[in-house]
């Protein structure tokens, strides 16, 4: 019984560690500088699009 509980706890901890690693991988992309093409695109959309 005790062993089953710890098995569950360990699984939970493993899941937390997986999520933690995922966040690190995700974060490294998140921190990349956004390429200029997107700011250019938004500028163009703003220039041509805004009704008033």
């Amino acid at each position: 019984m005790y062993a089953e509980m710890t098995q569950d706890d360990r699984k939970k901890r493993l899941d937390q560690q997986i999520d933690e690693n995922l966040r690190k991988v995700y974060q490294s992309t998140l921190e990349e500088e956004v390429p200029d093409r997107f700011h250019d695109l938004l500028r163009k959309l703003r220039e041509q699009g805004r009704p008033e």
Binding site: K24, V25, F38, R46
Partner: protein, 184 residues
Amino acid sequence: MRGDPRDEIPEYLAAMRAFAMSLTRDPSSADDLVQDTVVKAWTNIGSYTPGTNMRAWLFTILRNHFYTQRRRLRRETADSEGAFAARLAEKPAHDGRLALRDFAVAFAQLPDEQREALVLVGASGFSYDEAARMTCVPAGTVKSRANRARRKLAELLGLEAHEEMEMTDRATRAVMSGQGRQGL
């Protein structure tokens, strides 16, 4: 002009790129996806309800577009598995770089829906309910996809529930041999 929600779009560019990268696993496809998403969001801003979660709104447009395109291009594109990971390897060294790269390589092997579910709830901080609304499936489906993703990752990385995820040499070897892909 005051309070045009479109002015908020730039704040979410980085998040959209990260989400797109996790879906496409390829930097140039990811950026194309973000570009299409920005244009769609800009022109359909009327469907956004001010005051609601703009990130969720943008992510929904992005993933819908991804799946529409995927259906269209099904199997036509070259497998870019690991491109997400390979890109990480170009980054300046930081602690655990190799381990994270292994993780990313394994992550790239998961089915699209599982990667999506895990990124939304595991990395982006959405609740199961939010992710369910965004992906148009019940919350239970999101949950089971995320759990299957975690189990598969543990398997690919050679981890068992009784082991610590230390990203040991053993885990590294498991990924490398299972995948035959290196280049660091």
